[in-house]
């Protein structure tokens, strides 16, 4: 993309499109990757509410896959996940391994 020249800028540097940060992917920041183990999931949605990066998708009120385009790999979801019978439904794995 060609960088903008001074004539192409919105007046007053106002950002005209709400939520446009979705175009900025932060997934490459990740050193560890959360992995969802669906069979241990009790659908409590704690992972979803505590994720600082809105990187856990939901559908019809249920947890779906991670959104790796944005997940920064902090591990909050894994730490907070209660899982089932002592077995976590999220595990952190080293990225690229």
């Amino acid at each position: 993309m060609k960088a903008k020249g001074w004539r192409d800028l919105p007046p007053g540097s106002v950002v005209l499109e709400g939520g446009s940060a979705v175009k900025f992917k932060t997934g490459s920041w990740r050193a560890f990757r959360p992995v969802w183990i669906e069979e241990n999931c009790i659908q409590c949605l704690f992972c979803w509410i505590y994720c600082p990066d809105m990187a856990i998708k939901t559908k019809d009120g249920k947890r779906a896959e991670f959104d790796y385009d944005y997940c920064k790999g902090c591990g909050i979801c894994a730490l907070e996940c209660p899982g089932k019978k002592g077995k976590k439904a999220i595990e952190m794995a080293e990225e690229g391994k």
Binding site: W6, G12, V15
Partner: protein, 392 residues
């Protein structure tokens, strides 16, 4: 039909604001501005305007709130002086950078220290690089007329910039003067309804005001901001033309007085121009071709027009009611920049006068004109920058 009244500069400005009927105003006291917004507050209390006031706890908050209100989408005013303007400094840049057409009368007063409540131009001159349009006024009539025109200029869709209207503290703000008011309806029609531009309160199109802009674009944003300023002169002149049709009073980028054939000239802002004009008349009677320029639009500064107006003079004194310690007076710096491109330019001097409300007397003007006359004849300037009216 115009109505002749005898009022102070503050009262005239407050009345202009009443006639414009802004949506929101920020109010905070500071001498000599205080009674302007006090008067406006009573218009609010008496239901004479629709304005919602914000009775802020500081001028910093006043300008912050004005920025919030203007970004929200509506007509916004406040007024200040001196320390108040200084406290706003950070926010002045944000008002202009965000392109918000706030109108603010500035009742010029000296800056501390030492503390002084009287008129000089240190406050507004310190704000000259904040990206605001600055319009200066000689008397109550001009202050009133300029406040009304400021809305049309700042809110023009090609401009959208904040405007300061400067008038001299006490000398104009507190002296009663005979002047003419326009009818309320005339002002209302002249200013027109506020036209929105990127309002924050447009809930369906959420916008973000005030992003972080780093090295990739900041330079471009500032270039774009300068470009807007280059369009201001034309808008000021067009608005002035319309205003003349309405009021019969003529305004330009600056006023010239007996300048056409002048050999020597004084450039001076605001109220002191009146005194100077009288002394110029005396010198003319003695056969000395003296003239004057009183700048009106100081930001953006009309460099080419100023050079054109002064090109046939032999010697010019730029008189500053503010100083840049270790430099020249701020008006001098502009005028000398304007004249530099001329192949044949007048000799220049810079006099600092009237700081902290020190009287500017006809004898001072006479002293300057006498010296200019000598310079014009001898072709020599002995002292370039000098304080006048100062005790040794």
């Amino acid at each position: 039909m115009a109505k002749v009244v005898a009022v102070t500069g503050n009262e005239a400005c407050a009345n202009a604001l009443r006639q414009v009927n802004p949506d929101v105003c920020g109010i905070y006291p500071i001498t000599p501005q205080t009674d302007m917004m006090q008067r406006f507050a009573s218009y609010i209390s008496d239901g004479k305007v629709d304005t919602e006031s914000i009775l802020v706890e500081s001028e910093h908050s006043s300008m912050s709130a004005c920025i919030g209100a203007a970004a929200a989408g509506g007509r916004v005013v406040t007024a200040t002086s001196s320390q108040g303007l200084a406290l706003m400094w950070e926010m002045l840049h944000i008002a202009s950078g965000d392109r918000l057409p706030i109108v603010m009368p500035v009742v010029n007063r000296a800056l501390s220290a030492p503390l002084n409540i009287h008129g000089d131009h240190s406050d507004a001159m310190g704000a000259r690089d904040t990206g605001w349009i600055q319009i200066w006024s000689e008397n109550a009539q001009e202050s009133y007329d300029n406040v009304i025109q400021a809305f049309r200029i700042g809110e023009h869709m090609d401009i959208r910039l904040p405007v300061m209207v400067c008038l001299d503290g006490f000398i104009i703000s507190h002296s009663i003067e005979r002047m003419e008011y326009l009818e309320d309806q005339e002002v209302k029609d002249f200013v027109g309804p506020f036209r929105n531009f990127l309002p924050l309160l447009d809930l369906d199109k959420p916008k973000s005001y005030g992003p972080l802009i780093l090295t990739d674009l900041y330079h471009e944003y500032k270039r774009a901001q300068h470009e807007i300023m280059t369009k201001v002169k034309d808008v000021v002149l067009n608005v002035a033309k319309d205003f003349e049709k309405l009021s019969g009073r003529k305004y330009g980028l600056f006023e010239t007085y007996r300048l056409e054939d002048a050999d020597i000239a004084i450039v001076i802002l605001n109220s002191a121009a009146g005194t100077t004009k009288d002394v110029i008349d005396e010198f003319r009677e003695k056969g000395i071709k003296a003239g004057l320029i009183k700048p009106r639009l100081f930001r953006p500064f009309p460099y080419e027009e100023m050079a054109e107006a002064l090109k046939n003079t032999k010697a010019v004194c730029v008189m500053d009611r503010a100083d840049s310690f270790g430099g020249y007076g701020p008006l001098f710096m502009e005028v000398s920049s304007a004249l530099y491109p001329l192949g044949n330019r007048p000799l220049l001097t810079n006099k600092i006068y009237g700081l902290g409300g020190r009287d500017y007397l006809p004898s001072h003007a006479a002293q300057v004109l006498t010296e200019l006359n000598q310079i014009a004849q001898s072709g020599k300037v002995s002292v370039l920058k000098e304080y006048i009216g100062v005790r040794e």
